[in-house]
């Protein structure tokens, strides 16, 4: 196998300005939905502690926040990142920017429709989105569009060598509509309640791992070598990371329903294969660390690089916890508790947000010809990391304590009448941990606001710098070449 340079060139067929606009708009729309979703997520956390404070129930708030964060923020932003990188890796202009606009408007509209439908009680309550069945039909079609655009771009490529980022993008964009189709199938009447529940947890875990982390990692592989002009340490490690994430994607979800009414072997298989999640996360984090070996000081003033590195390291922590909870002894304490809420929260609001921020901070200045507002970007990274790690630690601890209280309560027969665990016997320790987690949730939300201010502020008020426009060769030069 011969390694060679992947195009990443500026001389592409035809003008690429519209592709730049649609790409930048994806990031800005995503930032808007992050703020909306972050607000709903904060209300959701607050309603856990102050349960009588809000007119909308916790369940609906959770679904509304998930729609905003999964579709509105993560999917739209990562698809924008893919549109940024694809022409630069393939040497072909983005295929059908018009279709990309359709996808962006469609997904934005459906996000609003979903939030409103769930908020007004029109949803069907199935996690994680709780939307009515008709919501899924246009969503499946909209989620296929990015894959079509990617394949159309690749079909016209002038570069027949694939940098590893292309693997991650193609994998993530392929899995996204398939995952959603599987999720949609859970609404079909021929699936039992048990199967439907498994489909839901599989979709949540798969979306976060097979799409958010996979595409986010792939984009960072591009950013890190591009920005620092250093080669990737290991293509093989990246490939291991890619397939491990794909293989692990859905398995850690089964740990949430361990001991449930599904077949026993699913739990066993899930625990074993769930180990692929930390393997994939570790492979990617190690690869980036090796790549940066000797260049760490150059990341000091680079919020785009810092965000990506922090996101990958945080992914390792989340993956280890998720894999650990797949084992039956641990799951007997953690399953069904806030422990899993902590894992999902940190994966989307921490890992996903940081990886997306990395791509946005790196690409927006080039796309818009505006200098990144670094102070806001740095602050956003800091607050997002502190907030999401704090929620992870304290919400997971609160959940584990709840689980422990159920075991203890059962042993003492203290809760049989109430049927709600032994929390009262803990003298509010669990509640205190929950309150601390909520405070960290507030910090995360401030970080999300700062991210929005960094992205939108860069577009609106950033100092003018050279804009990168993918162009055709001037006619006279092309003639000379011939």
């Amino acid at each position: 196998m011969t390694d060679t340079k992947t195009a990443d060139n500026q001389t592409l067929p035809d003008q690429g300005a519209d592709a730049s606009r649609v790409t930048a708009t994806h990031f800005m729309v995503g930032a808007g939905f992050l703020i909306l979703g972050g607000e709903l997520l904060l209300l959701q956390l607050l309603s856990l502690y102050f349960d009588e404070l809000f007119p909308i129930s916790y369940g609906r708030l959770e679904a509304m926040a998930n729609i905003c964060l999964f579709i509105g923020f993560a999917a739209i932003s990562l698809i924008g990142g893919a549109y940024y990188v694809l022409p630069r890796l393939t040497g072909a202009r983005l295929w059908s920017a018009d279709l990309a606009w359709v996808g962006l408007f469609g997904m934005s509209a459906m996000t609003f429709v979903g939030v409103i439908a769930v908020g007004f009680g029109l949803g069907e309550g199935r996690a994680p989105f709780g939307t009515p069945w008709w919501f899924h039909i246009p969503m499946v079609f909209l989620l296929v569009l990015p894959l079509l655009i990617a394949l159309g771009t690749i079909r016209n490529r002038t570069e027949d060598h694939s940098y590893v980022t292309l693997w991650f993008l193609l994998g993530g964009l392929t899995w996204l509509p398939l995952l959603y189709l599987a999720y949609f199938s859970g609404d079909m009447p021929y699936f039992s309640s048990v199967a439907s529940e498994y489909i839901s947890v599989f979709f949540s875990a798969g979306f976060l791992t097979m799409f958010v982390i996979t595409v986010g990692t792939g984009l960072f592989y591009y950013t890190v070598v591009k920005e620092l002009d250093i080669p990737l340490a290991s293509r093989q490690l990246a490939v291991v990371g890619f397939w491990s994430l794909g293989f692990a994607g859905v398995w850690w979800g089964t740990a949430q329903v361990l001991f449930g009414p599904g077949p026993d072997w699913v739990s066993g298989v899930g625990a074993a294969l769930g180990l692929a999640f930390p393997i994939g996360a570790l492979a990617n984090a190690a690869n980036v660390s090796l790549t940066l070996d000797g260049s760490w000081d150059r990341t000091r003033d680079r919020p785009d690089l810092r965000a990506g590195v922090l996101g990958l390291y945080l992914a390792v922590g989340v993956a280890l916890l998720a894999a650990l909870a797949g084992f039956r002894t641990v799951a007997s304490v953690t399953s069904l508790t806030g422990f899993w809420e902590a894992i999902e929260y940190t994966t989307i609001a921490g890992v996903g947000a940081l990886l997306i921020a990395s791509s946005a901070f790196s690409s927006l200045p080039r796309l818009l010809g505006r200098q990144l507002i670094k102070s806001r970007a740095r602050m956003s990274n800091r607050l997002t990391l502190i907030g999401s790690v704090g929620v992870l630690v304290f919400l997971a601890a609160s959940g584990a304590l709840s689980g422990y209280s159920w075991v203890g309560g059962s042993n003492s027969a203290a809760y049989i009448d109430a049927g709600e665990g032994w929390a009262a016997g803990l003298d509010g320790v669990g509640d205190t941990l929950l309150l601390i987690a909520v405070i960290f949730g507030v910090i995360t939300f401030v970080g999300q606001l700062t991210y929005g201010a960094a992205v939108i502020g860069t577009a609106a008020t950033g100092k003018a710098v050279e804009q990168e426009v993918l162009v055709s060769k001037p006619a006279n030069e092309a003639e000379e070449d011939e």
């Binding site: 390694d3 992947t6 060139n9 949803g123 397939w243 599904g262 007997s332 426009v469 162009v471 060769k473």
Partner: protein, 249 residues
């Protein structure tokens, strides 16, 4: 025609974009935007962008710019079409050869997509189809409850309100669930849920009567968040709860 208009016409770009590019270029080179525009308007694009003082573009990091002329991929290999000209093409000074950083193997992306689909189907077969196949519960009992029409509507309300976000209807064969009722089986028609911030409701009908359940849902005298439902919906939801009791519950 102003320099700006002339430059925009020469470059085939909107004036606003040309103006901004000129300002940025001027800031970098220490000249004035007018001088840059004048140069571009006069067709001196190449001269303006190949000045020795031009700092290497970030884009040049992985670009042929840092590769000696004889090592550069030829433009013809990139299937460049002679079409519109965009903004000035940055060409960095020629330096010593440096290997490119975006290294890739020659491969077929169709195989990546095929592999991704195959992996997904494999995972789904094991992870989704497996649990979906129901199995007989050895005749001991069933978790499937015969709900009345009102209770079935109550179950729809239960899902749309998002009750399953906090309540399970799943009793597991573990110490933590001792006392919650009979263990749920694969044929359960209850809403399993994956979080238990509130009590498990598999057998709530065997623990609380209708009045007590209605009080909880309405938030009367409990720490449960209140749900303001009309009389019919409240009655149906209460029916679903009171009928939620498994065989041994």
């Amino acid at each position: 025609m102003s320099d700006l208009a002339a430059a925009a016409a020469a470059l085939g770009l909107p004036e606003a974009l040309v103006q901004r590019s000129a300002e940025a270029r001027a800031a970098e080179t220490g000249s004035s935007p007018d001088a840059v525009l004048a140069a571009w308007a006069g067709g001196e694009v190449a001269a303006a962008t190949t000045a020795p003082t031009e700092p290497p573009s970030v884009e040049s990091a992985a670009e042929p710019a840092s590769i000696p002329e004889d090592a550069k991929p030829t433009p013809s290999a990139m299937t460049v079409e002679a079409a519109a000209v965009a903004q000035p093409v940055v060409v960095a000074p020629v330096g010593p050869y440096k290997p490119p950083v975006l290294i890739g193997a020659r491969d077929n992306p169709a195989r990546i997509v095929t592999g991704a689909i195959a992996l997904f189907l494999l995972v789904m077969m094991v992870g989704l189809v497996g649990p979906a196949i129901s199995f007989d519960s050895t005749g001991a009992r069933s978790s499937e409850i015969e709900f009345s029409g009102a209770a079935e509507h109550g179950q729809e309300l239960y899902t749309s309100l998002g009750c399953a976000a906090c309540h399970t209807q799943m009793v597991r064969p573990v110490i933590a669930d001792v006392g919650l009722g009979a263990v749920s089986l694969n044929d359960s028609n209850q809403i399993l849920g994956t979080r238990r911030f509130g009590p498990d409701l598999s057998n709530v009908g065997s623990r609380l009567d209708a009045a007590q359940i209605e009080a909880v849902i309405a938030g009367d005298g409990t720490d449960h968040a209140p749900h303001n439902l009309n009389d019919t919906d409240m009655a149906d939801l209460v029916s679903y709860m009171t009928e939620s009791r498994t065989a041994e519950g």
